[in-house]
Symmetry: C2
Amino acid sequence: MAAPSPLLIDGLQFCRWSRDVFEQMRAAGMSAVHVTIAYHENFRRTVDHVVAWNARFRDHADLILHARSVEDIDRARASGRTAILFGLQNPMPVEDDFGLVEVLHTLGIRFLQPTYNNQSLLGSGWMEPVDGGLTRMGREVIGEMNRLGMVVDLSHAGERTALEAIACSSRPVAVSHANPAWWRATGRNVSRPLMEALAARGGMLGLSLYPHHLPDSSQTTLARFCAMARDTAEVVGIDRVGIGSDLCQDQPDEVVRWMREGKWCRPGDAPINFPAQPDWFRDNRDFPRIAEGLTAAGFRPDEVEKLLGGNWYRFLRDALRPLPATSDTEAAA
Amino acid sequence: MAAPSPLLIDGLQFCRWSRDVFEQMRAAGMSAVHVTIAYHENFRRTVDHVVAWNARFRDHADLILHARSVEDIDRARASGRTAILFGLQNPMPVEDDFGLVEVLHTLGIRFLQPTYNNQSLLGSGWMEPVDGGLTRMGREVIGEMNRLGMVVDLSHAGERTALEAIACSSRPVAVSHANPAWWRATGRNVSRPLMEALAARGGMLGLSLYPHHLPDSSQTTLARFCAMARDTAEVVGIDRVGIGSDLCQDQPDEVVRWMREGKWCRPGDAPINFPAQPDWFRDNRDFPRIAEGLTAAGFRPDEVEKLLGGNWYRFLRDALRPLPATSDTEAAA
């Protein structure tokens, strides 16, 4: 019997999905990838994306499967496939309807960001001039996510909103894709107080490979990324760090306009482009090679395994379990 | 250890749901009830009904649970509760979108009528002047329902549409609530050729207690209903008959207008009312008492058990099982 493949988990990707991308996941031996299925879509349009994913799971059943739990990640590893976890980067699919949180969970959503860059019904995004913190509905929705076993993902949140969400949540939360703000000074990255609050409650940070989050943008070297990883692990602990690459492979540039502008403003005139990836992280096949950089930065083999998947796995094993008092609807799902 | 409660399954109800109704189900010892959650609603509005049911499952978790399989019926019996199975009496929730069949299945829908009284995108209802049979999309959707393990329910279908659906389906189908047309001559009931085609393919008929389907309307006696049951069992076999009461308890009369007129016509002026129930079947508490009438009509105890639940259970055990080649999405659900 072959030894099980190493645990490799990416905390966020939003690629233009294709058989090529799924084959690259397999070439890398990816165990699981959290994929974004909606930003500014309402509930009904989000369901269109679920339908599209259902077709992908049938068409590429030899490469991927839909994961609702870590048991599905185990099943993917055992059958040489990659587990796909659904997430929403913005709560627009919830509309103004608390009950849709459970429905989205039933459809397989396992990560939800209470805010993207802007104000939402749940809280303030990092680009708003005023961060009013978690809203009344935000508190209700986090309670429901805690009950169901859905990860509160604070990427793109404002500082106050994020801190209040950590305090409000009865379960550990995540920042699926961001870097320390003291390595790249942008409100999109995570301040030291927020990082400490996250870690103190058992949360997870996925280090981002998106150039706008990296210390030297597209020119950031693997060595510098891994030095940042080492510094982060010293602040939050080796068990709280993973990767959330934010890989947006093969996407046309109009997609980054959709991500930023959605439907909430008149489309801008300025050209808008995806930044170039660092040359050492072009696609999923480069994911396992991060191990070399981490080793060179002084991490032990067991620490490298934690950073590349073990930590996300352990976090998800706890985070995706419904609370015991959950309804029978969910217990049966 | 107490002996397990008898299997009592009602093949269709559309009550005004309340704790009172659920307590009556428990007083009767109902094992499972197939409930209608939508008629003319589009997908999004159907989801509102799922949300309302999720709240009921939480609020009345001591009385009911959401059933997705016969294992959930077993779980309900073991815990002294009633299993609720979701169904749609019209395919409007599928809209014109094949992919929504799987999404609705994921949300727990286990019965779907390809037509209500009118023409649908899938086939012709019994009230249409022309029955064009199963449509192109109808054939696609039945194939998908077969794959997923969703019951094709031919109540309210036109004769040709129903016969073509039976021939098209790779798995046994049901008429969840109707009576033999030779006991009450209405196109809503089931002709002898249709009944024989249904039975020849291992299908199920749920005998209806809705007055407009009964031989003497609201005045039909229990003895006459049970004589009809005996006659039906002689035609289709004792294993193919159950009950589908069509109980519409506590509904205001505007609901029967919604059922008949939906949004497809200008609302009529004529008063429209639910008919009075037979005095021996007022609510769920009367369900187990049908056994007395069946016994008096000459059925043996094991036959009575089949008619009141055993046959539906065995049918559902096979019908709700996904086909082995189904996607991982569904296998995990």
